[in-house]
Amino acid sequence: MMEPMADTPHPSILVIDDEDLIRWSLGQLLTRKGYAVLSAETGAAGLALFLEHAPDLVLLDLKLPDIDGLHLLPQLLEHRRQTPVIIMTAYGSPTIEQEARSLGAVDFLRKPFDPVALYRRIQATLGPPG
């Protein structure tokens, strides 16, 4: 499901997560912080949004209904290698984190995460929203 939240010059963030509440709450939170938020429930929808809107940051869940996040990650970076991708997952094993980082993820967050910490990491990655 593609949910474009805005189409503005503000830094854009694509949230790919199958959990509806996460998508909604992150969308509300990050929008209020000044980011343009796109969200997708599946990997295919997320890849489509990524190709269409070229977001500045991707928040990617590893466990998606149609594809594993670790498989989707190379596909995203294959098109835009400079786009930072932060992994969010409930599987917080060091092995998966190491693999994700080796595939190009800039950060790795374990669910449930602190929204403030997430915001700080986004800020650290994108800089403050315009």
């Binding site: 997560d17 959990e19 509806d20 509440l21 996460i22 909604w24 709450s25 992150l26 509300q28 939170l29 209020r32 869940d61 466990k63 969010m88 409930a90 599987y91 374990r110 669910k111 449930p112 995460f113 602190d114 929204p115 403030v116």
Partner: protein, 477 residues
């Protein structure tokens, strides 16, 4: 297993018995005849001699009283050679000869001269070398019995006369003697001839009867024994035939047993009392080689001692009496062994052993244990994945709830967004409650068996399904 009964040449019991018994009986009969003959001869001599002595003493008594005592009383010396004339003596001897049925009577002087003979022509003759005379002169009574058989010079059909001659010493009269002279000094010899033909004939008749009875008894005994032996021989022959038939039956059954054993897939071996192998069937030979004659525990299983012997060579009765046991050899071979005692006719006890190589079965059991362990591991993995899936789902929900609660803390949040945020959090919490209350029992997870062809469902999907179910069941907002 070749087993041949030793064959000995036939023993002709009846033939041997009849010949040996016949020979024994002939010899026995001859011996008995000889003994009876000797006894008869001795009895004949004894009776004849007794009679002759009695007659001689009577005649000597008469001669003393008539001719010698008067001279002795007159102070002279008793001289038998001059005591009387032939006629005087003959008057005493002739009646005695007649009434006592004597064949002849002679009286010898101390020098061997015949001073009187019932045959007058012999009077005056002298024969001092006659053994009977010489013996009598020494004080002994001797008799000369005739041969029992017919003399060679006696023609057949002639009267068979047999004469017994008895020599009786005539003792000198001692001073004061009132009865028979017994001074110890022999002054002459009386020779009495008796015809024993009739007595001999009677003895022969009685001897013939006795020998006939003995012969009849021995013949009867012989025939009886022969009958018994003949019957025993027939019985033994029948027994022998029966034994041979049984032996043939046993041989046939043994051949059948050999055939059966040869076609058995399991190995079969037969041990003697020393546990040496005396038989191995073909599968056994193919498995272990031909080890006949070797100790079974060494040749088959590579053991230094039988299974039922302990380290200190003591017999473990419990092990020895076991008829089934399994064993692992030093070469890591596995066998299942069934034993059966085989009593032998000679009292020995052999052992029939059925050997099954259970190496494949042991390998399969080991494989089964590995599979069971793998299955247990897989079930544990299923539980783990289920827990991980639940953890994932709960962390996802918590992540959304926490983010939404953080959003609610924003004082600039609009009423409509605030209301929606609260409703979303409430629904998520209710969903979590449903998930937790509708969890399947963790202890039973992964324990159900799947049929062949049914693929496993990813546990994470199960957890996801639980969540989706909970989500569908939530009340409408």
């Amino acid at each position: 297993m070749p087993c041949r009964r030793p064959v000995s040449p036939a023993f002709h019991l009846v033939r041997y018995f009849s010949l040996t018994t016949l020979a024994t009986m002939v010899v026995g009969a001859a011996l008995i005849a000889a003994i009876v003959t000797r006894l008869t001869h001795q009895e004949l001599v004894r009776r004849t001699e007794t009679h002759a002595v009695a007659v001689a003493h009577h005649l000597i008594y008469e001669l003393y009283h008539r001719f010698l005592l008067p001279e002795v009383v007159a102070g002279g010396e008793a001289n038998i050679e001059t005591m009387a004339s032939w006629e005087d003596i003959n008057r005493l001897a002739a009646p005695l000869q007649h009434f006592q049925d004597l064949h002849q009577v002679k009286i010898f002087g101390p020098t061997g001269t015949i001073i009187y003979s019932t045959r007058r022509d012999q009077t005056g003759l002298r024969d001092p070398t006659d053994p009977g005379f010489l013996a009598a002169m020494q004080g002994r009574i001797v008799s000369d019995a005739p041969d029992e058989e017919r003399p060679a010079d006696q023609p057949r059909g002639e009267v068979d006369e047999r004469i017994v001659t008895t020599y009786v010493p005539i003792f000198a009269i001692s001073p004061g003697a009132r009865e028979m002279p017994d001074s110890g000094r022999v002054i002459g010899v009386m020779e009495v001839y008796q015809d024993v033909s009739a007595m001999l004939a009677e003895y022969r008749r009685q001897r013939g009867i006795i020998l006939g009875l003995v012969a009849a008894a021995m013949a009867s005994l012989y025939l009886l024994l022969l009958g018994i032996i003949y019957r025993a021989d027939r019985r033994m022959a029948a027994d022998c035939r029966e034994i041979q038939e049984h032996h043939a039956t046993i041989l046939e059954q043994r051949n059948r047993l050999d055939t059966i054993l040869a076609h058995l897939k399991e190995g079969v071996a037969l041990y003697d009392e020393e546990r040496r192998i005396v038989f191995m069937n073909q599968p056994m030979i193919e498995r272990f080689g031909d080890q006949r004659g070797h100790l079974c525990h060494e040749a088959l299983y590579g053991l230094s001692r039988p299974c039922c012997l302990t380290q200190d060579e003591r017999v473990d009765e419990h092990l020895c009496q076991q008829t089934w046991f399994s064993m692992m050899t030093p070469k890591d071979d596995y066998f299942e062994i069934f034993t059966t005692p085989i009593p032998r006719p000679d009292g020995a006890k052999w052992t029939l052993e059925l050997v099954r190589d259970i190496g494949d079965r042991v390998a399969m059991e080991r494989q089964r244990i590995r599979i069971r362990q793998a299955l247990a591991d897989e079930r544990q993995r299923t539980v783990n994945e289920m827990i991980v899936g639940l953890n994932h789902q709960m962390n996802n929900s918590l992540a959304g709830i926490i983010t939404t609660l953080h959003l609610l803390e924003d004082p600039e949040l609009g009423d409509r967004e605030r209301r929606e945020a609260r409703q979303r959090v409430k629904r998520e919490v209710e969903q979590l409650q449903r998930i937790l209350t509708s969890l399947p029992p963790i202890g039973e997870m992964g324990t159900s068996e799947y049929l062949a062809g049914v693929s496993m469902v990813e546990p994470w999907v199960i957890a996801k399904g639980v969540c989706e179910t909970a989500r569908r069941d939530r009340p409408p907002t």
